[in-house]
């Protein structure tokens, strides 16, 4: 049981409370099971694990879900993140500064998902995201993003395989000339009836040569006509027909 590859495999079958018990058996079991115990952390105001424990083992966290901003973020030690999920109602701009530092410390991040309906724009955070070298998957569910925020998202999109932009009030840049191509994009999801004009959305789809799947969400009912001929024009451009997902 003392070989790391074996304990890691055993740990994958255990629940959190089983892992916590195994970690308290002896020193060598502690060293074996602690990394898995702390690999996935949910910061929630009601069930958060002891902050002392999370802070001292932040170097093991690979997936971090932040659902409260009451928690002090342990930026220095937390450097192995692969997945970051943030869902809050953020009123304090300093919070976004903290999270942007977190992103800058975590070059292994592959996926970032943010949902926020707060009062402050995550401009600094999205700027940090746009410089994240290994990011492949970005999902932004937010209302009222301004043009600068959208520009940072599109800067990220140049390296992404999957992008989701959701939120009716998103304001796109005036043109997409700054981004000639999104060469690695495989899946693109957008809200159909946002401030993002249909022509600009179509242009985005056109700029993704490797696109395999697209989804348009329609939030408000009625009054919108889908430019079918333009859509088929895009599909003709692909070698194979993409998966239409929830196209309405």
């Amino acid at each position: 049981m003392d070989l790391p590859e074996i304990t890691a495999a055993v740990a994958s079958f255990l629940s959190l409370s089983d892992l916590a018990a195994a970690a308290r058996v002896c020193r060598s079991w502690n060293a074996s099971f602690i990394p898995t115990l702390f690999s996935v952390i949910h910061l929630q105001s009601f069930t958060q694990p002891a902050s002392e424990g999370v802070t001292s083992h932040a170097d093991h966290i690979k997936r971090l879900h932040i659902m409260t901003d009451e928690f002090e973020i342990f930026v220095e030690k937390c450097t192995k993140l692969e997945y970051l999920f943030i869902e809050l109602y953020c009123r304090d701009p300093d919070i976004w500064h903290q999270y942007s530092t977190l992103v800058q410390h975590n070059p292994k991040l592959k996926t970032i998902e943010i949902r926020d309906n707060g009062e402050t724009l995550p401009t600094v955070f999205l700027e940090a995201v746009s410089t994240c070298p290994g990011l492949r998957n970005l999902q932004v569910h937010m209302h009222d993003l301004d043009e600068t925020c959208m520009a940072f998202i599109l800067d990220s999109a140049v390296h992404l395989e999957y992008l989701l932009i959701s939120g009716l009030g998103n304001t796109p840049p005036k043109s997409l000339d700054k981004w000639p191509c999104f060469p690695t994009m495989k899946k693109l999801e957008m809200e159909f009836d946002t401030k993002f004009p249909i022509q600009l959305q179509l242009e985005m789809f056109r700029k993704c040569p490797k696109l395999r799947a697209m989804t348009w969400r329609v939030s408000a009912a009625g009054g919108i006509s889908i430019p079918v001929s333009d859509l088929f024009g895009i599909i003709d451009g692909y070698g194979s027909v993409p998966d239409f997902g929830q196209l309405c």
């Binding site: 495999a9 055993v10 079958f13 916590a20 018990a21 195994a22 308290r24 058996v25 002896c26």
Partner: protein, 159 residues
Amino acid sequence: MKVTLESSDGQVFTVDKEVAELSVIIKEMLVIEQANQDHPIPLLNVGAVELAKVIEYCEHHRNDPTIDDDEDYDSRKKPIEMDDWDKQFTIVNKEMMFELILAANSMQVKPLLHLGCRYAADIVKRMSPTEIRDLFQIDDDFTPEEQDKIEWEKQWTKL
């Protein structure tokens, strides 16, 4: 094509090449020594009893699709396929199963390692640290300071 394997205590086993190739280590060795082998492949960490059992497992699973190696975070949620044969196979004593885990690990027979680790996990599930120590005859070697430090880990049990 046949391949011969030699256990750490000198017993020689002859098996079909595709059966032996369920072991990543043997597969790699066969690639390196492309010429027909004149001598058996030595398995220095695996005794005859365990090797016979590993071969029995590989014979039964010779046509299984290979599992990919990708680290999958959701793997703890998916139940792993375990057929009746596998269940029968794991009805051995604890010591034998741990020897088999070690053998599967050193020969890199991934599905058997998986099966064994699942068996080991089932043993420690819902046990307290004290019960685990008693079962495996492990000494509690934490210093009092460390003991204080790991107290908060109890928090997880409330989840």
